[in-house]
Each structure stands twice: as structure tokens, then as C-alpha cells.
Symmetry: C2
């Protein structure tokens, strides 16, 4: 393989997350035009060869060939456009594929756009859509995503002595962090007691452990010649994809995120760094316990000890390794197709020193963990200057 190109991020755009009035074409238009106009040195549409749209569900979007819908706003009919989907990991996978296409010489510059509109349907329909993230056998028997995470989280408590307080701490931390994020869906803090008293969804998962239903759009512009478009590119230092069984029931250890472990091993290896060299991370806390599972899978803590990081405040915004300073999926929001790209944007801004009130000091490397369903597909990205 012939890989001498190092792919950099040269521009981005990010909508607010939450219940948005804009329709999908309008969100796509803002995301695409926003990213292009964000490129410091300017970039011609004709230099963008590839447009990948990350969008999870056709029933949410009421649209097929959304890549072609998006192409209208790129104003370059010579570009190639398509949609990619791997559940909630779609944003990470779209970025990975764009990176591969640039590294291999198939594209010079690529725009990766994530979009999802989720808030317009009834709760019943929304639930019937979101169950699709699971294994066919789980879907058949009605095991929703909260139910599957409930099982994993219950088992983790039994095995390792974590408590409901530990899970609550992740939610409390992320709601606190989101106070400083203008894009976040929620600007409201909660106490551990409030989380523990919120409605039970699937024991031990309570309402305030669950990421919300969100609308949003995000975009990043990737380049094989980043210096051409900005003096301050952020590089994709390493990236990895990992898979596990679709069903939680099929896993040897349902409390361990094997796909994320595989993906992060690959990402660290290609970035030539160790986990301890990362100063800031965004992880996929679709349900709060998943943040703890991620700590262990990306190597921030040993197996069964992830919850101790929260107890000791080490992943707080002012801790030694801040995690989800954006507010995480829990409080920033989770417009599923946009999420993975939004997470990358947070780390991109941290590396540029442009994260405003959320800025973590001395960031040399940042990591993003973006997974689908209960972790069947995982994409881990290491970014650096």
C-alpha cells in the first residue's frame, strides 16, 4: 500500500443540537456552505472530489439518496456523493472512509457531513426506529437499546462493584460540562440524587442516563494537502475500526467493549502513541454506563476499574484526562448521523485552542470513540497537531 498522505481537517461546521425548526435540506445546506466558508484560505467546490453523508435512518429522514440531495449544496456536479450507515457510528465511519479515499489518491479533498432529524415523530415511532440498532434476534424479542445497556450495566455492577452512584456521576459531569457548550441541547445541571430519582427505564438505566432524541448537522472538510487551506490543520494521526457481535447475548464478556478495544488499539498503533499520551477524549455515552465501559476499552483504566476514574474526579473538565467536555451525547445531544462528526469537531477545536470556555490546557493529542448500537461497530480516532 502506498500511503504517504497525512489527512488533515481544515474546516468544520456545527449546528446547535436539539429540537430544530430547519428541515433536512436546510440543515445540509448550512452544514456544507458553513464548512466551505470556514476554510481559512478559501476552497473551491471543484477541489472537493467526495461528499459522504452520514445519516442513520430513512424513516427519520423520509429520504433516499440523501448524498445526492446534499450534492446540490456543494455546487460541484463532478464530485462523487453517497450515504453511509453503520448505526450511531456512521459519522466515524464516514470520516474513516473519506480518509482512506484521500490517502489512496482517490480524492484530494472530501467533505463529510452528518445529519439527523429525530424530534418530529411520535415516541412510539421513534422507539420502533431506534430498536433497529440491535441484533436481529434482539429486535425480534423487543430488546430496545436501553434494555440491552441495562443488562450490560447490571452485570457490570455485579462483577466489579460499581454502584448506581457511579453511573449517575457520568451524567452529572456531562450535564455540568454542557453548561459551557453553546451547541448543547441541555443547559441544566443535575445532582446525583436527581439522576438516581429519575424515571427507571431499564434497570439500572434511568431517564437521566439516556442521551436525548435530537436534531442536528455537522460537517468536516478533510484534505490530503491541509497546509494549502489552513495554517493550523489538525491531523488524523490514527484511526481504527473494530467489530463485535451484533447481539449482547452473543458476547463472551458483555461488560467489555471489545470493538472499541480493537479500534483503539489500531488507532494508537497508527498514531504511534500510548493511551496515556491523550489529554482529552470524547466517548460515546449514549447511556451513561457506556462512558465507563469506554474508559476501559480505550485504555484509560483497567478492566473493571473504569468507574473509579469518575469517583476520583479524574475525567472531570479540570481532571487529569477530561472526558466529554462537550457535554457528551448525554447533555450535548445525539442526532445520530451527526454525532460522530460532532465529537471529532470538539477535539479539533480543543487542539486548535478554540474550544472557548471548555478549553482544556496543553492538548497535544485527543481521542474520539464513536460506536454503533451496543458496541457492535466502533470507530476510534486520534487527532493531533
Amino acid at each position: 500500500m502506498w500511503k504517504t498522505i497525512t489527512v488533515g481537517i481544515v474546516a468544520y461546521s456545527h449546528s446547535k443540537y436539539g429540537r430544530l425548526a430547519e428541515d433536512i435540506p436546510t440543515l445540509l445546506e448550512s452544514a456544507i456552505e458553513g464548512a466551505i466558508s470556514n476554510a481559512e484560505g478559501g476552497i473551491d467546490s471543484t477541489d472537493i472530489d467526495l461528499l459522504i453523508v452520514s445519516n442513520v435512518d430513512n424513516q427519520f429522514s423520509n429520504q433516499h439518496q440523501i448524498g445526492t440531495v446534499a450534492l446540490r449544496y456543494l455546487h460541484n456536479p463532478q464530485a462523487e456523493a453517497f450515504r453511509i450507515e453503520v448505526a450511531c457510528a456512521s459519522g466515524g465511519m464516514a470520516t474513516y472512509l473519506a480518509k482512506q479515499m484521500i490517502e489512496s489518491g482517490s480524492a484530494r479533498n472530501a467533505l463529510v457531513v452528518g445529519v439527523e432529524k429525530m424530534t418530529h415523530l411520535s415516541t412510539g415511532v421513534t422507539t420502533s426506529i431506534l430498536i433497529r440498532g440491535g441484533a436481529p434476534e434482539e429486535i425480534k424479542y423487543g430488546a430496545t437499546q436501553p434494555a440491552a445497556y441495562g443488562f450490560m450495566s447490571q452485570l457490570y455492577m455485579q462483577k466489579y462493584g460499581a454502584t448506581e452512584d457511579d453511573y449517575a456521576l457520568a451524567a452529572v459531569k456531562n450535564h455540568k460540562n454542557a453548561m459551557k457548550n453553546p451547541w448543547a441541547q441541555f443547559h441544566k445541571e443535575f445532582t446525583v440524587e436527581a439522576v438516581k430519582n429519575s424515571t427507571m427505564i431499564a434497570s439500572p438505566i434511568r431517564l437521566l442516563h439516556c442521551s436525548p432524541i435530537s436534531d442536528g448537522a455537522t460537517a468536516i472538510l478533510l484534505s490530503g494537502e491541509p497546509k494549502k487551506y489552513t495554517d493550523t490543520p489538525v491531523y488524523i494521526k490514527g484511526m481504527g475500526i473494530g467489530y463485535d457481535t451484533m447481539g449482547v447475548f452473543e458476547r463472551e464478556d458483555p461488560t467489555f467493549m471489545l470493538a472499541t478495544k480493537i479500534a483503539s488499539d489500531k488507532a494508537y498503533k497508527s498514531a504511534k502513541i500510548e493511551p496515556k499520551q491523550v489529554q482529552v477524549a470524547e466517548v460515546h455515552d449514549a447511556f451513561s454506563p457506556a462512558e465507563i465501559f469506554a474508559y476501559e476499552a480505550i485504555g484509560l483504566a483497567k478492566k473493571g476499574e473504569g468507574y473509579k476514574l469518575l469517583r476520583e474526579g479524574r475525567t472531570m473538565a479540570d481532571g487529569e484526562i477530561p472526558v466529554n467536555v462537550s457535554g457528551g451525547l448525554k447533555a450535548k445531544g445525539h442526532p445520530i448521523g451527526a454525532t460522530g462528526i460532532g465529537m471529532i469537531i470538539e477535539i479539533y477545536l480543543q487542539l486548535l485552542g478554540q474550544a472557548g470556555e471548555r478549553q482544556v490546557r496543553g492538548v497535544e493529542y485527543g481521542l474520539v470513540e464513536n460506536h454503533g448500537g451496543t458496541g457492535a461497530t466502533s470507530v476510534v480516532t486520534v487527532l493531533g497537531r
Copy 2:
């Protein structure tokens, strides 16, 4: 760009099209294991680096991350898997992307799998899903795909003097061809009169101009070293992608398939051949008039003269350039995610001389035209020995 690899098809599998009892996991399993066991010289799963699943709608599949679902049946957790979607052109696009990944050195061998289950939902729900192929504006105002094709077909008749008999001829020919295709959904012939007397759907589109609602799965194994796996590879000689506006209302000439013209120009150019060098073609007759539009866009006839090929019998199975000898989408069936790959398989078999009773004599080059919606996205493939 560094492209010395010529990608070949070394194996395939193809389910029957129609109302199938099997669920999606079973269809994926058969498609994947079928293609792998079809490789003459045998192939290890570990040599397959990439698994792309073409699947159009999440409401049809009731599944997210179907690429990861499919990965179970490849038995190679090191492979990378994802789903791609560009409406009915998904199968062609998945093949194009796999070809790019192999040519660029990102993958050695890639399995491209198409699957769709469509027959299990009510007509109302199915209609509400299939409208998603159109432009957001068309969807908003309830313009279904038959309605949009009805407009295009009406205008074509007015401009060029084609008649309802001409549209019927395409359906009659394809139903006749399907009699010899064991995979076809329909094995029933119709007269021109029967087509013209069938239920009116959206004038001048009648029921017997419409491709059916189908289940099905198809797979092809692509290789950068085809000779390693078979003595008789079929090569992808050329391939092109083209785009047009999503909406028919936005087009300068709604009777001309611009995206297919762009895609076929690229495909011929990369194959270094002229349209007249093609001996057999499969085109995307989702609605019968679209077959005529395709003749013109791929260069078999001049603009406004495509219908004459049918009148003169030139695209009949025994004509000078047989089109849709498989029965076409009209009579073979149209399980949307599987369709584009199924069309490629027909031409692959024609080139191998393995098309049974459908075999066309002296095939050196064959062409596939696979488009999405009313032609907003088009993929054209030229295959040869």
C-alpha cells in the same frame, strides 16, 4: 493517481426474486456463503478485506448497521464492513466503491452484497417508503415515483411522437425474456393489448409498466488479482458515476437521463470503447419508459429516437443489441438494494457464456445501467473478458 490494478469479478451468488420466506439474516448468509463457495479456486475469508452492503431502506430492513450484521457470515472480523445507500443505484455504487478501494490498494478482495425485503409491509407503508426516492420538494407534495415517471413519459410522447404501444413493447419484451430466467419474479407473458388495458397508475404509466415489489439478495466477489481465484474472470473494463438534479421539475430536459449520459460517457472512456461495441445491456427499467430513456442516454439511439429500437425489434433477445434479457426490473423483479448487483451478475454470466437459455451469442462487452429515483444518481458499468 496510481491505478494499475484491473478489478475482476471472480464469484457471485443470486437468490430468486419475488416474495421470499427467508428473513434478512438468512438472505445475507446465503448470499455471502454462496459467493465465497462459488469462487472456483476457493478463497479464504481472511483474504476478503472489505464487505459493502447495498440496502436501501431501514424501514424495509428494520435494521441499522446491516454491514455489521452481514459480517457475521463472512467469518473474518478483520474485514471492514458498512452499508451504502443511493436509492435504487445502491448496488452499482457499492460495486464502484469496492472497485475504487481495490484499485487504490485499500483492499485486496471485496465482497459486495445487495439485499432488500420489501413484500412484508402493507401497500400504504410500502408506498410511503418508496416515495423517498424523489426530491424533498416532490415528496412534500406527494409526487410518487410513478407520478414523476408519468410526467417524464407523457412529455416524451409529446416531444418525440412515441406512443403507449412503444412503452408497452418494453414490458412485453421483458416479460417474454423473463420466461427463461429461473430467478425472475414473474414467468408470465403479456400482449401489448394486455399492458395497455392494465390499471392506470399515473398516466401514461400503467400497472404493467411498473417493476414489482420484491425480496432478494445478490453478491459479487471483486478481486485485484482475479486470476488467483478463477481461470475465467470478468473484468470491470470501465465504470462511471453521474448525477442530475433530484427533482424532475428542476431539469432542463426532463425526458433525458443526464446522469446516465454522464456516467456512461465516463464508463466508455475508461473502457476505451464506443457504445456500438457493446453486445448486451441491462438497463434500469423501474418503469418501462425508462428503458427507452436509457437507450438514448447510453448511446444506443439518438435523443428522441429510443422508442424506434423497440418498434424495430433491435433490443429483443434475438435482436442486434439485446437489452434486459434477464427480464429487466419489470419482470425479473426489483429488490432495490440487490438490483444493481443482480444486473451486473446477468452481464457477468453472459460474458462467461453461462446465461443458459438467455445466452446472447458473441458477447465481448456488456453494459449495466443502474439509476436511483428518476435518475438523480446513475452508475454505468462496462464489463468484458
